[in-house]
């Protein structure tokens, strides 16, 4: 037991302390940071946080990130569950081939596809547009969505479907009104995975966007760092605010994300 608490305290220290000091140093003056960044701010300088929250870039980056993540997630989950329904509850030639094709996507991370993807988006006229980020992100979220949804949908008893059909509901109606509500836990998990992946994505928006007002939060943070490189406290404050939404959502979503990780294990 003492070992458990000792390990807990060490982990707590390593994980929380850096974040805590990013917050505190963001409220310090740069003069203080040069000599003493491990004490409490003296004096407290709230103007860093204030100026970031009252000017446009932070909110623009936040809005862009949110728009892209919502669209990518919606597309991935809607199209993914439709395809998973087709591949789990219809019998047809090539069913396993299509499923394997989707799952193969797990081998193609966005980083590997990035350069040709850039060329494709250029041809489609989607460079410097939020759709140019959201559409590929949705596509790359499909494999894991299928991997989690298909076994889940398969596990739902066929009797239920037969009963619905006997009662005169079509298969599509069974899908929308019965299967989807039953799949809610799995749908929450795949939505969160897609959302977090999109929210954290860095390389794709870095390639696609050239106009600063289109940047997502991760790209915005990096640009902010190079723009204000001499003002450490200000960048720290910005970093803290950029981390805040992910941490806030995470507190509510943790158990679903863990379930997602465990679900990937069970396959």
């Amino acid at each position: 037991m003492p070992a458990t608490y000792l390990v807990s305290i060490v982990i707590l220290g390593i994980t929380i302390v850096p974040l805590l000091f990013v917050f505190l140093d963001g409220a310090s003056s740069n003069q203080q940071l040069g000599s003493n960044s491990i004490g409490l701010p003296h004096p407290w300088v709230w103007s860093n946080y204030g100026s970031i929250l009252t000017t446009a870039p932070f909110w623009q980056f936040l809005g862009n990130s949110a728009l892209i993540a919502v669209v990518a997630t919606t597309l991935a989950v809607v199209l993914g569950s439709m395809a998973a329904f087709a591949l789990s509850r219809y019998d047809f030639r090539g069913r396993e081939f299509y499923y394997t094709l989707f799952i193969t996507g797990l081998l193609f991370p966005i980083v590997i596809a990035a350069l040709p993807l850039f060329a494709l988006l250029q041809d489609l006229g989607l460079l410097d547009s939020w759709l140019g980020v959201a559409l590929p992100e949705a596509a790359f979220a499909l494999p894991i969505t299928m991997l989690i949804l298909r076994p889940f949908m398969r596990a739902i008893p066929g009797d239920l479907e037969d009963a619905a059909l006997v009662d005169g509901a079509g298969r599509l109606r069974f899908f929308v009104q019965i299967l989807i509500p039953l799949c809610k836990p799995a749908l929450v998990t795949v939505s969160l995975l897609a959302f977090v992946t999109s929210w954290n994505q860095f390389l794709l928006p870095l390639l696609v966007f050239t106009t600063q007002s289109n940047f997502t939060l991760p790209v915005g943070v990096s640009v902010y760092q190079s723009t204000y490189s001499s003002n450490t406290a200000l960048i720290l404050a910005f970093t803290m605010l950029a981390a805040a939404p992910a941490l806030a959502v995470f507190v509510f979503a943790e158990r679903y994300l863990v379930a997602g990780a465990a679900g990937a294990v069970k396959g």
């Binding site: 390990v7 807990s8 994980t15 850096p18 990013v22 003493n36 960044s37 199209l79 993914g80 439709m82 395809a83 219809y90 299509y98 394997t100 094709l101 799952i103 996507g105 081998l107 193609f108 991370p109 980083v111 590997i112 596809a113 990035a114 350069l115 040709p116 993807l117 060329a119 494709l120 250029q122 949705a138 596509a139 790359f140 499909l142 494999p143 991997l147 954290n200 860095f202 390389l203 390639l207 939060l217 991760p218 943070v221 990096s222 760092q225 450490t232 720290l236 970093t239 992910a246 941490l247 995470f250 507190v251 943790e254 863990v258 379930a259 990780a261 465990a262 990937a264 294990v265 396959g267």
Partner: protein, 292 residues
């Protein structure tokens, strides 16, 4: 009809944005092309031979393999040990799990910017080291060629270790208590139970962790790029940072795609080998069984 309405939208999106670019990438990689205008200058496999003759790229490959190896050898046992210690009921367990997992959900770009500030000369990390009497160990963490790759590894570990711990914890909680109780009744001690029952049953989870970690490490980009851009002088280059710098920044687009195809071959080779030698016996290996 009904079937194609359900299946096609997802399939088209997938083919267009996932498989399409990879296929077209193989084509681009055979050309000398700057990413704009017509693709005409066919050079065959020259991009590939050039890559393997380039010291810079070979170094980037070695760095990537080193980071992958370090992740397996250091993060693996660390995550497993921590998960075993935390897998019991104690006050604050839910909170601990939350805290451990937190760095994993931060955008890597945020992690990278945050740590590059904490690690700057005379910054937070240096001041902490001096305060605890380790001032002699202070380095130019991000500028010393001999240190920089390991600095990146530590930050990567900070971000991703929690994922391993939480994954293994989930696996541990899937092991029926009855098995452990039965062994205890038969006179097995805690170590024997762990060694003979818990670890073997945790096998599938550990193998999935290895799979996810290797695929992630082979394409590591965000954190290294934002902390050091692969520098100084390529000392922290990974395959992906090298690909971005040559292919996109230096506009050797065809060459950069050749580099991404090489990265892909690394991933594929690992998957095939791993499937053949490690995952085959897992009933839970659905992930890679479907892939390969």
């Amino acid at each position: 009809m009904e079937l194609s309405i359900l299946l096609s939208p997802g399939l088209i999106l997938f083919l267009l944005f996932v498989l399409g670019p990879i296929a077209v990438g193989i084509y681009y990689s055979l050309y000398n092309w700057d990413g704009y205008g017509p693709v005409t200058d066919f050079v065959g496999l020259k991009n590939y031979t050039f890559a393997f003759k380039s010291d810079e790229f070979v170094t980037a490959i070695l760095h990537t393999l080193l980071l992958t190896g370090l992740a397996l050898v250091l993060q693996g046992p660390l995550a497993l040990g921590t998960a075993l210690l935390l897998n019991r009921k104690f006050f604050g367990r839910g909170f601990m799990r939350l805290v451990i997992f937190a760095p994993y959900v931060l955008p890597p770009a945020v992690t990278a910017v945050m740590w590059s500030l904490l690690l700057q000369p005379d910054g937070f990390v240096d001041q902490v080291l001096r305060a605890v009497g380790l001032g002699g160990e202070v380095q130019f963490w991000l500028a010393n060629q001999h240190v920089v790759l390991y600095t990146n590894f530590v930050v990567l570990t900070w971000q991703y270790l929690g994922f391993g711990i939480v994954l293994l914890l989930a696996g541990l909680q899937g092991i029926p208590v009855e098995l452990k109780e039965a062994a205890a009744i038969d006179g097995a001690n805690a170590w024997e139970i762990t060694r003979r029952i818990v670890l073997p049953l945790l096998g599938p989870t550990m193998r999935i962790w290895v799979f996810i970690t290797v695929i992630g490490s082979l394409q590591v980009f965000d954190i290294i790029w934002l902390m050091t851009q692969g520098g100084p002088a390529g000392a922290s280059d990974s395959m992906a940072t090298y690909m971005y710098r040559t292919g996109f920044q230096n506009q050797a687009f065809g060459y950069g795609t050749a580099v991404s195809i090489i990265m892909f071959v690394f991933c594929l080779a690992f998957c095939l080998a791993y499937q053949r030698f490690a995952l085959r016996r897992d009933t839970a290996g659905a992930l890679t069984r479907a892939v390969v």
